[in-house]
């Protein structure tokens, strides 16, 4: 393939489709910077286009440039017609791929788009061996299957993934999750803006409770406790997120929570000297407590130890899991 054999052509932008078409793989982008660049110095690299069977043109490379020009109110764009130079669809996909690969990173949805497009033209083995490493993906059939499933997710979920608002771990769960549950979970994640760790915990708790109590995830989230948290005007979003997770944790781990609360109430009532605290494994698996003392010099330390020595309440600290 030789792109330089393409011919210059002026195209009317309103005749160009607004979707990415059969060759390009841009998704979830922000046009502001590109618009600013074109406004300041004009279009430096003309987009590549190819004539389709209907007689109009598909974008081969430069989809974002076309959209930016449209956003700027331009009527025409100078493009490179590569209909002959890049005769086959695969050549066009590869031209778009390699042009982008050299200049930027692909987000996960874009990777999925490329793999999907390649699938129609390239053997699976070649995709695994030649293309997935270029996308920083392992050459594993399971990974390929997962990326192809990403394109079946709702548009909003895809956008959130492309913008890194949800983690790839969460996307892995979503592709296997029943649709109503996926929509409900995503709504909560996007409303409360859970961070990545919270997202994973949120879904993990929900899945476990759903199986154990035989209740659909979507139904669980309509529980009055969750709605009350969501509608509580005295809590900001991070507080709501924490409250939701805590409510789920208590429901998921009733016996552990009860044991933790017993330990916490025994420890928290002790009047520890300033800078001293008692720590323990939150899962109560390590049988040992840990005493921490912060001090600036030896006298401080001696003082703290003297006060601790005089503290009778220390003897009342129970062994973890005592009497259980």
């Amino acid at each position: 393939m030789d792109i330089t054999k393409g011919q210059g052509i002026h195209l009317e932008l309103e005749k160009m489709a607004d979707d990415s078409g059969p060759y390009t793989m841009s998704y979830g982008f922000n046009l502001d910077v590109l618009c600013e660049s074109i406004r300041k110095v004009g279009l430096i690299n003309p987009p590549l286009v190819a004539r389709n069977p209907e007689g109009s043109f598909d974008v081969v490379s430069g989809f974002r440039r076309i959209l930016a020009l449209k956003a700027l109110g331009e009527r025409n764009a100078f493009c490179h017609d590569v209909t002959t130079a890049l005769a086959s669809p695969l050549e066009r996909i590869l031209a778009a791929f390699y042009e982008n690969l050299a200049t930027r990173k692909f987000n996960d949805v874009e990777k999925a788009m490329l793999l999907h497009k390649l699938q129609g033209h390239v053997a699976t083995e070649e995709i695994l061996v030649s293309f997935m490493p270029l996308l920083s993906l392992p050459s594993h059939e399971g990974t390929l299957e997962f990326y192809l499933k990403l394109l079946g997710l709702d548009g909003e979920v895809q956008k959130a993934l492309a913008r890194e608002e949800i983690s790839i771990k969460v996307a892995k769960v979503f592709v296997e999750m029943e649709k109503a549950s996926c929509q409900a979970v995503f709504k909560w994640i996007s409303t409360l803006k859970f961070n990545f760790n919270q997202q994973v915990k949120f879904i993990d708790y929900l899945e476990d409770i759903s199986v154990r109590e035989d209740v659909a995830i979507a139904a669980l989230l309509y529980d009055k406790y969750f709605i009350a948290i969501l509608e509580n005007p005295h809590l900001n979003n991070p507080q709501k997120a924490k409250a939701v997770l805590e409510t789920l944790r208590v429901r998921r781990f009733p016996r552990l929570t009860q044991a933790q609360q017993a330990i916490e109430s025994a420890v928290s009532t002790i009047s520890m000297p300033p800078g001293a605290s008692i720590q323990y494994d939150p899962y109560l698996e390590d049988p040992y407590y840990r005493l921490e003392i912060k001090f600036r010099h030896g006298k401080d330390l001696k003082n703290a130890i003297r006060k601790l020595h005089a503290l009778r309440e220390l003897e009342a600290i129970p062994e973890l899991w005592e009497g259980k």
């Binding site: 059939e141 399971g142 476990d208 016996r255 552990l256 899962y283 109560l284 049988p287 899991w321």
Partner: protein, 364 residues
């Protein structure tokens, strides 16, 4: 045998080994088609374990290794003879689902060639007792009708008087054992569970009753037998359920000739959870309260583990198993609180089980 293979593959130079040639003869009874000599290895999907394909392979690494215990919990000092990987049974809780990154059942064809070197190393260790098992990365007997490990390994054990070999299984494939004349220092042990867990979670495995019938036959034929209640799983009426299994034990097995019974609650690497959810969406084995253990694996909260072990200890003691019950990968604290004593360390546990071996087989 309750499974049917679709494909067998001789990989690499496997064909040159006598073991492989014999296995191919046996395979004709179990295959839908003739074994392929070469085949481009197919990469499996994420959750496809390809259990209908058997690969005969020459394993390039060391075959005898210490059990991968962790220092945070007491480990029994077991050694694993790696005869193959993966298993035709399909237990929902099986850790192997997340342990191996390669699909298919695999049998190692070069075990016999390595036995001499292994034997020399064991001999050089002096009087130390070696408890060796083949049932960690596969079921010891499930593929025995093809592999004939029961013909190969007991004669090896007979030549090394500081070695005890344990065949650990859920199957009733005992014909090979019954036709073997080498029975000294060979332990045949069955993995047991509650009847409900066996029926719903141990896919492809015989019922508890059938396993115990097989145990009875082996015991009557002079074999020393053992049992492993691992994993114990919390499920509705678990006490009645596990008591039922002990009742069945009482009906079929003489406890005075059982060398050991291990107990271990369900635990899993965090990555296994998603595999189980995907492969067995209906299962309830993940319902319990699991927390990260000190070794990074998920395990039941300590109070539940102690309750389950304590219950099992009492039931087994009532049956007649007052000693020889031990915990797999637990802390000294949990030992003390559930069994009423603790070997204190992995070395202590190892010595305790070595003593059981010495008493059972008359070793000095």
């Amino acid at each position: 045998m309750s499974f049917k293979l679709k494909t067998a593959i001789l990989e690499g130079d496997a064909e040159k080994y006598l073991f492989a040639q014999k296995a191919v003869e046996q395979l004709r009874n179990y295959l839908f088609k003739e074994p392929a000599k070469t085949l481009c290895p197919r990469k499996s999907g994420e959750f496809d374990l390809e259990k209908e394909t058997l690969r005969l392979i020459s394993f390039p690494g060391q075959l005898l290794k210490p059990c991968p215990g962790t220092r945070e919990y007491l480990c029994c000092g077991y050694q694993i003879l790696n005869i193959g990987t993966n298993c035709p049974l399909d237990c929902s809780y099986c850790i192997l689902q997340a342990y191996f990154n390669q699909p298919s059942l695999r049998l190692f064809v070069n075990v016999e060639q390595q036995l001499e070197a292994i034997g020399q190393a064991l001999q050089d260790s002096g009087r130390k007792i070696h408890r060796i098992g083949t049932g960690e990365f596969t079921d010891s007997l499930a593929l025995d009708p093809i592999a004939r490990w029961t013909q190969v390994l007991p004669p090896f054990v007979a030549k090394h008087d500081n070695v005890v070999l344990e065949f650990k299984t859920k199957t009733v494939s005992i014909e090979g054992l019954l036709s073997s004349s080498h029975r000294d220092r060979v332990v045949v042990s069955w993995s047991l569970n509650s009847p409900t867990i066996a029926a719903h979670e141990e896919h492809g495995a015989p019922s508890i009753r059938k396993r115990l019938e097989a145990a009875r036959r082996c015991q009557r034929e002079g074999y020393t037998i053992g049992f492993h209640f691992d994993p114990l799983i919390e499920h509705p009426s678990w006490k009645e359920e596990y008591a039922r299994t002990v009742e069945l034990l009482d009906r079929f097995v003489d406890p005075s000739r059982v060398i050991w019974i291990s107990l271990g609650c369900l635990r899993y690497m965090p990555s296994l959870k998603r595999v189980i959810r995907k492969r067995f969406p209906e299962t309830h084995i993940l319902d319990g309260e699991f927390v990260p253990g000190l070794d990074g694996k998920m395990r039941y909260i300590q109070s539940l583990r102690i309750e389950m072990y304590r219950f099992m200890k009492e039931k087994l003691a009532q049956w007649g198993m007052g000693s020889g019950v031990y915990l797999c990968m637990e802390s000294s604290d949990v030992w003390q609180k559930s069994l009423g004593w603790s070997p204190q360390s992995s070395e202590g546990l190892s010595e305790y089980l070595d003593l059981r071996v010495a008493e059972t087989f008359g070793l000095r």
